[in-house]
């Protein structure tokens, strides 16, 4: 884990950071010196923030917030203007859910829930976060998409649509705010080893891995590393891009 202090003096907000990939992203940014805002719909938002603060010695804030609630999101970012030197410098839209089903069995609530969190949530957070970034003439936004948003997947029409939408959203915003020093990129993970993939049968896992040239599932750190790169000074000339972290599953 990079501990170069390159993000010292910056504030990073990660949505869905109470646990899982989001939490690891927050940790990796904290290790580089960024102050961390953990925003999550889960109760653990504050406790996770406190744990990260203890472990990495950075300033932290934790907020329980639903990213699909425009008023709540605005309230959060209004508060952060005072607490984070005018506003956060880095936004990682990581909050996401799945409601998998075949299209013919996918009802409207499954569609709306997934599009709401994964796409509308990113829109609401980005819209608020980008104003102070424009003002500061500096900022990084990273959207956690998925290679499913590029290649599609049976049983995930809603999820694929949300992630594909997130990629198109990233590119459009990148074009809008590029002249103001704000870079916007997406990270598209493939199969990442999580509790969910661990629970699959050996047979199913082997089938899935046949599609992955490097022959293994990705680790949470593989995703967090790509996000770290896109938030650091080393990627200042990269915007509107999709970094695939998928072991070569999609080339």
């Amino acid at each position: 884990m990079l501990r170069d202090g390159a993000l010292a003096g910056k504030w990073a907000l990660v949505t869905g950071a109470a646990r899982g990939i989001g939490r690891r992203i927050a940790e990796v940014l904290a290790a580089r010196g960024a102050g961390i805002v953990v925003a999550d719909v889960m109760d653990e938002a504050e406790s996770t923030a406190a744990e990260i603060g203890n472990e990495y010695g950075v300033n932290v804030l934790g907020y329980k917030v639903n990213v699909t609630d425009g008023e709540a999101v605005k309230g959060l970012f209004d508060e952060l203007k005072g607490k984070c030197d005018g506003g956060v410098d880095i936004l990682v839209n990581n909050a996401g859910i799945t409601r998998d089903n075949l299209l013919i069995r996918m009802d409207e609530t499954d569609w709306d829930a997934v599009l709401g969190v994964n796409l509308k949530g990113a829109y609401l957070c980005t819209r608020q976060a980008v104003r102070p970034m424009i003002k500061k003439r500096s900022g990084r936004i990273v959207n956690i998409a998925s290679i499913i948003g590029m290649m599609g997947n049976a049983g995930q029409a809603n999820y694929a649509a949300s992630k594909g939408g997130l990629i198109a959203f990233s590119k459009s915003v990148a074009k809008e705010v590029g002249p103001r020093g704000v870079n916007v990129n997406a990270v598209a993970p493939g199969y990442i080893r999580t509790a969910m993939t661990d629970a699959l049968s050996e047979e199913v896992r082997e089938q899935m891995l046949l599609l992955v040239p490097v022959g293994r599932f990705g680790e949470v750190d593989d995703v967090a590393g790509a996000v770290s790169f896109l938030c650091g000074p080393e990627s200042s000339y990269i915007t509107g891009q999709v970094i695939r972290v998928c072991g070569g599953m999609l080339m």
Partner: protein, 85 residues
């Protein structure tokens, strides 16, 4: 309380000078944002954002008729007066 127009005008010009990176002598009430200062749509959005924050008002997205610095000042004065009533 009457809104002091001169103060508002000074503040508006300050913001325009800083955001558009022009010298103060180029900005008068008659100065047109797009034609004279070369503002693009993002510049306009940014100026609106700055005015909103500076004067604690809300400027609707479809607000038309604000072309010059003076138009902006008049609009803000009107907004503040309405809010003060």
């Amino acid at each position: 309380m009457a809104v002091k127009k001169e103060e508002i005008q000074k503040k508006v010009i300050d913001i325009v000078v800083e955001r558009m990176e022009v010298t103060r002598d180029r900005v008068t009430p008659e100065t047109r944002l797009i034609e004279d200062l070369g503002a693009d749509s993002l510049d306009i959005a940014e100026l609106v954002m700055e005015f909103e924050e500076a004067f604690d008002i809300s400027i609707p997205d479809d607000e038309e008729g604000v072309r010059s610095v003076g138009d902006a000042v008049d609009f803000i004065v009107k907004q503040l007066e309405e809010a003060g009533e």
